[in-house]
Structure formats: C-alpha cells, structure tokens
Symmetry: C3
Subunit: 307 residues, 3 copies
C-alpha cells in the first residue's frame, strides 16, 4: 500500500518501511517549521475534525499541522458532538463530512469506530484515537520522538509505565514498537491495569521482547521511560490505589540510578504522575514530544493527501 | 434587485431568474470543486457564523463553502451562543459582528430574527434558518438538486412528506417551488402536522398546485419525494403517534410502485424516517443533496459578496 | 523594550511612545481595511486563543484581527476550556500551546495568569483579560478610540462610570490614561464599587488627576464618558442596588447638559446601563469603539510578531 488516499486506523497496518518514509517526511517538515516558512501544499484542502470524544491536545495538534500546510479546518467537538451523535448514526455523519472535506480525523469512544468510518467514507479517515488500543498517529509521533532524541528505535530498552489496560497511547506505542527491534520492553503497571490479553498475545506473536517489571528493578537499564497516568477511578478499592500509587509516580529520587541519556516521554496531559521537578532534568522530553507531533502530523497529512 | 450586497431572508424574495443565475454559478463552482482547484476569490473576506440555535450541518456546509473560496470564518455556536444571547440583545450582537465581518450567517429560533438582523447590520445577513418557515439557502440547494438530478424543476410531480407544520426545510422547499411550475405538489403529513394555514394560502395565491394525499395513493406518480421527520414530541397523544408513524416511514416495500427515476430527498439528519436499506436504491439522493449544498452556498457567497 | 517578541501583560508595561507607535500602526491597518485589501503579512503564523474564561467579543475581535492579516487561529473556549483546566496545570497547557503556535492570547479568571504564562511560554503571550484590573489590549483600543474620535487624549476631561472595583475594562482604561495627560478623570461609581485602593494609589503616584464625583455634577464638563455595568449581584443588599442604580444608567435626559462633542464609550456587551435611545445620539461611540478593536489588535499582532 502507498500512503496516498489511505485511511489510518491502526499502527499495525503500517510496515517499518512506511513508518521510515513518514519519519523522513517529518524531518523535512521540521526543517521548514524551523525556518518559519512552510510550503502551503494543502491550500486547496479541507480537513474535518470529527471529535465525538473530547481531546483538546490531539485536536489542536492536528489543526496546527493542517493549518501550517495551508489547509482549512472544519469540524465539531464537545457538546456539539453529543448532539451530532444523538441526531444521526455515525455512518450518516461520516458520509456528510466526506462530501464536504478531503480528509476526516475521527476521535471516538468506541473500538472500531475509525475502521467503520473508513469503510463508509469517500475520503481518507485518520483515527485520532478510538477504543482502548488505537491511537496510531500518537504512536507515530512517539516513535519519531525516540528516533530524533536517541538516533534510533532499534536495540533500546523501553519501560512503558502506568495504565496499560485502558490507556490507548501506551498500547499504541507498544504496538508500534513491534515494527522495530527493541532489545527489551518492560511493562510496568499495577496488576489490574496490565496489558490486555489480546494485545499481549499480539505483540508476543510479533516477537516483541516484553516482560513485566517494577520501575525500581529496571530503571538503570532503560533508554526510554514512557509514562502514562494511573487513574484512581480504575481501582475498585481506593485503599489499593493508595497502596500502589507511589510506584507509578516519577519523582527525582527514583531517577537517581537511571542512565544519563534516558529519556522520559508522556503523551500529555500529565496530572501528577510526573513530579514537576523532573521537568528540569536532562531526562524530560514530554514537551518536546508534543512539539514533534506537529511535523509528524504534517507529514501524515501530506502523505495521505498528496502522496 | 441584484445579488451583490443583498441579505437573504426568505426564498420568496427571489425571482425565478435570480435563482437560475444562482444555479448557473453553482454549476461553475461544482466544476471547480471537481477539479480540486477553486479560485480563492474571497481570500480578503471574513464570514461570521452567528448560530444562536445549533445546526452542525448547516454550519459546516457554510463554513466549507466559505473556506473553499478562501474566506476566513469567525463565529459562535452552542453553549457560547446562549451566553451571547443572555449578555446582550440581538441588535447589539449583529452590530458588533457587522463591524468585524463582511457577511453574517444567522441561525435563530425566532421567526423574523434574520429580517430584523438584516435591518441593523451594515453587512449582508444570510438566514441560515429562523422560525418555522424560512431556511432559504436550504430551499436553494434543494431546488438545485432537483434541477441537477432530473434536468428540470418544472412539470414534475412532487411529494413533500413529514412534518410540514414545524419543519422549516419542508416549508421552504414548498415556498421555493412557487418560483417554478411543478405539475403537482402533494402534501403528505399527519393531520396535526399539515402546512400552516398562512403558508398554504400563500402558496395557493402563487398558483402552486398543492393537494393533500397519502404516500400510498400517489407514490407511483412522484418524480420527487422530499422526506422530513415526524417527531414523536409533536403528538399530544403518544398512541396517536404510534398509530400514524408507519405511514411516514420510507421502507423499500413502499417504493415498489414508484417510477424508476423517482428521487428521494431529505435535508438531513435523518433518524429512522428513511430505512437504511433505501440508501442503496436508485432513488436515494439525500447524501448527494448534502454535497450539492457546498457549490450552492459557494455560489451564494460569491454572488452576495462580489456580484 | 521593542514590540517584537514581547508579551503584553499590563498596559502599565507600555510607555507613551510605544502606545503612539501602536496607534500609528493601527491607522495604517484602518486604511488597509477600508480599502478591503489587507496585506497578508502573517500568513505563516498561527495564533492560539486560550480562553479559560468565556469572552466571545474579545475572542472574535482577536480572531478577526489575526485572520485579516492572514494568520491561522487555533484554540479553545467554553466547556472545552474547563476540561483543559481540570486536566493539567496552566504551565503545561501554555508549554504545549507555545510549541504549536507563534503567539498565545490568554483569557483567565485569575490575576497574574498572563504574567505567569508569559514566563513559561516560548512565544509571546497577550493578556486578553485576567483578574480584575488587566485587559491591556482593551485599554489600547479605548485610548485609540479617544484619539481617533477627539483628535487627542491629553487635556480632556474623562468620566469613568460604573463598577470600577470588579470591572477590568474600566480599571485598565484608567491605568492607560496615566500614560497621557488628561485634565481630569472623574470616578463615578457606587461607594462599594469604587476603584480598588491599590489601583487608586498607583494612578495617583503616576500623577493622574482623579476625583470621585456624581455624573449629574460633572456631566457638563466631560469630553469622554466611559460607561461600564453595575451588576446587581455586587450588592449584598438588593434594596441598596435599587436605590442607586438610576444614577448609573445613561438615559437621554441625563445627557441634556453634556457638551455636543462629548463621546460615550462602553467596552460591550451592554445590557441596560445605556438606554437604547442613546444609540442614535451624536454621543454614542461604543459600536465604533468595538470596530476600532480590529485595526488596533491587527497592529498589536503585527508589532509583536514582525516588529
């Protein structure tokens, strides 16, 4: 498959070579951005944002990417999305949008919404997050961040920490790693928030060297620590949450044994899972990661819309 | 009257020749759209969307049309509109907007809001739907759909089905037909949701050959079946609703006697008034109709803003 | 300090000469607007609107200014802003936005939010209103309105009427006047809604000739009457409100003794503090004032982004 005209549903639909093509394009976009002069190659295109579930950061990141390339943006989010969803079924909404816009970015609570939308749409659909596993463009920008900050994705030791069960960014990142050859991927989560069985099976099938661990045990080995939040509401017993939460909160002391070059990533927003004192350490890369989202999404839009 | 600088309040303000001029312009827009290369003739213009009543489809359709022509869009909708409406009267809001933008698209619950706004505004106001009868740009795109799909508007047999009392799209379509010479316009509605007396008198005065009918009786005669929803909430007695609703729901079996060339239109969103199995029949035109909204609204914006 | 790259937190950060430079630039923008042909000098820029507190007018005014200059706009407001604020702290939101956009306009309930944001942002932050005193761009456009309508700011007699305690537009206007040499500034407010002590001390230190007065006493002396609303909710005792409100409502009869050339300004929205019959008098300038907001904010964006 080529990029042009393609819907983006899951990171698993992409081969390593396709991701590498994307990263090359993103690098070019980065350079144009740093010069403050981006070619307006999408000035005849309209991108529709159909955000049935709110996500300000993903929405703003895509809108910024589209507008940097000269595209116009239409769409809905928040309260308006609820009334759209009540008024008609998803297929009708997508059919309407695909007669207005040249590409649709869809965010939806339900697993499979993006795949379904891509079937009824006459224009490409990009999954801006659906269900619990898929957020392919987040995985793309996360992988790009590793490549740009550490020079490679292969051969590194990763720790993915937090809620691996309900957090779609973490799951997508792990799925994305199957396209490369990490040395090890440590899964660091409370027992009730571990990787779903089907995702675990899938990544093992792909040969990804995953292993459960505690942060303390493995912190000194890590090249990348990918942090996501552990939400109190996921615990049936609040006491259980209080008992475990300390192990999933990144504070400076826990980083003492880490490699100097280890980077900490986070899909944002963070609440208190990374202490603010960590922001000024050499490890912090989460704001840079958010910034990389722009050239990566610009590259995605370019490849899908113009090839 | 010429189009340039004109407010669009009611479809009745337009002569046949003016509508034909619009349709010619819309045809040119269609061609530009199909080539993916639209002249950005409105790149120095700002269009304000003042949506005091939510309408995602009308809003997105106008925004798409404006952006395709290079215009910028500002505005408010939803919750924000409520706070605008609380904070000041309509005249002040319109005065403010008309000092910011070059054209205002207004959506409002109250009959007459668009006319009033057009009086206080220093820029043209387009009625994006107000009260129960007026949605002139919907009527324009509906008439254009008939012309494009069947080659003409005159001499055809129309059935307008559903809530003709509260549905502004249906009422506007019927009013728009008075500018042409249909052979017959069948009004197909529950007794309590028939055309308002004043609208009925008005269209008869204009010589429109209207007649009440049931779908079953006339389906074989129809060239155009325009469907709108019958809402349960309009019935004081739920049992009455249950009793009649079947007669206003389009299912494949009811279409068996229809002409092959008959087209089914709907202003969208549809809920269950058209069965999804109808979508794949040769009759379905409602998504194409929504798509025609873009070139028609582009043509409207062009004519009003540049002549 | 030069304008380029500068954050705009308080009107007090600006010298008279800097404001005069702004007004010159705004005059050029006015001319371009009146010709309907504005140079798109910001077509490579993105402006982020971070409206944690709703303000449709300020938001639309900035968006219009940005778009007139060819900039793209991203952002959030309303309900979405609430969820942003819940999800992460202000610093993280600003860091994210400053990696997307070239400039941030911030509206926030809390005093000091804009100053704090300007410290953590890597791009300029413009205070679109925070706390109870600061709304510097409103003060700029208000001063510009006086200059344009009366030919000068110095040597005039001002009356600032209404809620001077909680109204940030009124406070900012008075602070802005300290950069010029008014002959007199009358403070016309209910006793419990007078200028805050710290603001009063500050403006006196700057040598501004302020004095409490009633409108009746001074109306004949005024060159400028700046009106803001007195809200019922500010009064612990509703009877007290009923007793005083008449003195803070502008009706035609109260203007009988005014100079012919006196102008009435208001930051809008107005509710009933200015009777609608005043709109058609020679004194009314509040809609013109809103219109001046566009060239002034265009000039601000130009100076901050391009120098």
């Amino acid at each position: 498959m080529t990029w042009k005209g393609r819907s983006i549903v899951s990171i698993l639909d992409f081969k390593r070579s396709e991701l590498e093509e994307l990263f090359q394009e993103a690098r070019i976009m980065e350079e144009q951005l740093s010069k403050g002069k981006v070619e307006k190659i999408l000035s005849d295109r309209i991108v529709a944002m159909a955000f049935f579930e709110p996500s300000t950061r993903t929405r703003l990141s895509f809108e910024t990417a589209a507008k940097r390339l000269g595209a116009s943006v239409i769409g809905f989010t928040g309260e308006e999305a609820i009334s759209v969803a009540k008024g008609e079924n998803l297929a009708d909404t997508i059919r309407m949008l695909s007669s207005y816009a040249d590409l649709i970015v869809l965010r939806h609570r339900y697993e499979g919404a993006a795949l379904y939308a891509s079937k009824v749409s006459s224009v490409p659909v990009i999954n801006g997050g659906d269900g619990r596993q898929h957020h392919p463009t987040q995985a793309m920008l996360d992988l790009y961040t590793v490549a740009r900050e550490l020079g490679r994705i292969d051969g590194l030791v990763y720790g993915v920490l937090g809620d691996l069960r309900y957090g779609r960014a973490a799951a997508s990142f792990i799925l994305g790693l199957t396209r490369f050859s990490p040395r090890k991927v440590y899964l660091i989560s409370p027992p009730n928030l571990g990787l779903r069985r089907e995702v675990r099976m899938l990544v093992e099938e792909q040969g990804l060297p995953v292993e459960e661990a505690s942060l303390e045990e493995v912190v000194s080995e890590l090249d990348v620590l990918y942090v996501t939040r552990v939400q109190k509401e996921r615990f049936p017993d609040p006491e259980e949450y209080e008992r475990v939460k300390g192990a999933y909160r990144i504070i400076p002391s826990i980083l003492e044994g880490a490699k100097e070059s280890m980077i900490i990533m986070h899909p944002l927003p963070r609440v208190d899972e990374i202490d603010h004192r960590v922001d000024s350490t050499r490890h912090a890369r989460y704001f840079k990661q958010a910034a990389y989202g722009i050239p990566v999404r610009m590259a995605i839009l370019k490849l899908v819309l113009t090839g």
